[in-house]
């Protein structure tokens, strides 16, 4: 019985030590583990942007999408507090539209415009058929956009 006790304590303390070490490591690396920065972090210079590829994520600002040329698209990424203007040449994902989540990768130009090399759509965890959304909207209970 006492050998079993010993092994139990050994396993539990080993797991606790490993968990603590992992937790501290992840906490120390937390700034590097994020996939994208918010427009506010970029506007307030909280991220190193000099000659570096970064990702900015947020929503495509309402009314911001312009297509001056066939393959070029201008839009703005917003977190409802700050906004970053983006220029991108290429195809955007099917889900890309105003009000939809988006993550753009690229570099911040000298004039504050973000020159994206890749644009990804980010969708939320709501899964509903169109009929249900229409019904919710009709009854005024719809909380999404």
């Amino acid at each position: 019985m006492t050998r079993k006790r010993q092994r139990l304590i050994l396993v539990l303390s080993g797991l606790a030590a490993l968990g603590l070490a992992t937790g501290l490591t992840l906490y120390a690396l937390r700034d590097n583990l994020v996939f994208f920065y918010s427009p506010t972090q970029v506007v307030q210079h909280e991220v190193p942007v000099e000659n570096r590829n970064i990702r900015i994520g947020g929503l495509v600002a309402d009314g911001s999408v312009q297509r001056p040329a066939a393959n070029t698209i201008h839009f703005a990424i917003t977190d409802m507090v700050n906004t970053v203007n983006v220029t991108y040449t290429g195809l955007v994902p099917n889900l890309f539209k105003e009000g939809q989540g988006v993550v753009a990768e690229g570099r911040l130009g000298p004039d504050g415009t973000f020159l994206a090399s890749q644009v990804l759509a980010k969708h939320d965890e709501t899964y509903m058929p169109k009929e249900v959304i229409d019904a919710l909207k009709a009854s005024g209970q719809w909380k999404g956009n």
């Binding site: 079993k4 092994r7 139990l8 396993v11 080993g14 797991l15 490993l18 968990g19 992992t22 992840l26 937390r30 583990l33 994020v34 996939f35 994208f36 918010s38 994520g57 955007v92 994902p93 099917n94 889900l95 890309f96 939809q100 993550v103 890749q118 644009v119 990804l120 759509a121 980010k122 969708h123 939320d124 965890e125 709501t126 899964y127 509903m128 058929p129 169109k130 009929e131 249900v132 959304i133």
Partner: protein, 238 residues
């Protein structure tokens, strides 16, 4: 613990498994058929359209990939501490099944990511930690392959399973702790309409039964395999 000791007898386990297995296999087949039928009939997601149907394979695979590793870590702890004779067999028999579900999760996720996000793969915290889980599974399997003596292999593998279990909360909370391209879980938060949640939950049940069926079958084979090994060793000594 009394029940654990009652089941500790491999001979008794083999007798029970032989009776239970056909029923489990039949239940798996029925639930899988019902789940797939419900999933095919389920309405399309308003935002994502047809590609979101991949979730009926992706989400159960993802949940099983983590559940199975959790079960392996639990069985490994029991094997290490109480030396339960079936625990390390259960952990070993689970590994390949879990690795399969992890691969399925990664592949279906990738196929879903291309039409909805616009990319097959990104190195965000959720995708990366799930890929690491796959590598831990492979490492665990490799240890059993590399060490010939089952008792020594069992201890080394159990430590890998316990250490690897640290990754499970990281996978689960990755979408909460850090921002990721992957969306947070929506099933338990009521963000999934019942017309899609019911097929999803049915398939989760089917995948789980599939795991239990394969597990018992692989445990049977492992027990018999070890008996044959012991027999050969005894004969070589004689």
């Amino acid at each position: 613990m009394a029940n654990l000791h009652w089941l500790a007898n491999p001979g008794r386990f083999l007798r029970i498994a032989a009776v239970v297995l056909p029923w489990l296999a039949a239940a798996t087949a029925v639930l899988l058929a019902v789940g797939l039928w419900l999933a095919l009939r389920a309405p399309q997601d308003a935002t994502q359209g047809a590609p979101a149907k991949i979730m009926y394979m992706h989400v159960p695979s993802a949940i099983l990939s983590m559940t199975i590793f959790g079960a392996m870590a639990f069985a490994s702890a029991i094997a290490l501490i109480w030396r339960h004779p079936l625990a390390d067999i259960a952990a070993k028999a689970s590994a390949a099944i879990g690795a399969g579900f992890t691969a399925s999760c990664l592949i279906t996720g990738s196929l879903w990511g291309r039409p909805s996000w616009g990319t097959f793969w990104v190195w965000d915290a959720r995708l990366t930690s799930e890929l690491i889980l796959f590598f831990i599974y492979l490492g665990y399997i490799a240890i059993w392959q590399a060490i010939e003596d089952p008792q020594r292999a069992s201890r080394a593998a159990a430590i890998v399973a316990l250490a690897g279990s640290v990754n499970l909360p990281i996978i689960h909370y990755s979408v909460v702790w850090w921002n990721t391209l992957h969306q947070p879980p929506g099933l338990m938060q009521g963000r999934t309409d019942p017309s899609m949640a019911v097929p999803l939950l049915t398939l989760m049940g089917a995948f789980f039964l599939f795991y239990v069926t394969l597990l018992l079958w692989r445990m049977e084979r492992e027990i018999v395999g070890r008996k044959i090994r012991q027999f050969r060793l005894l004969r070589a000594q004689a």
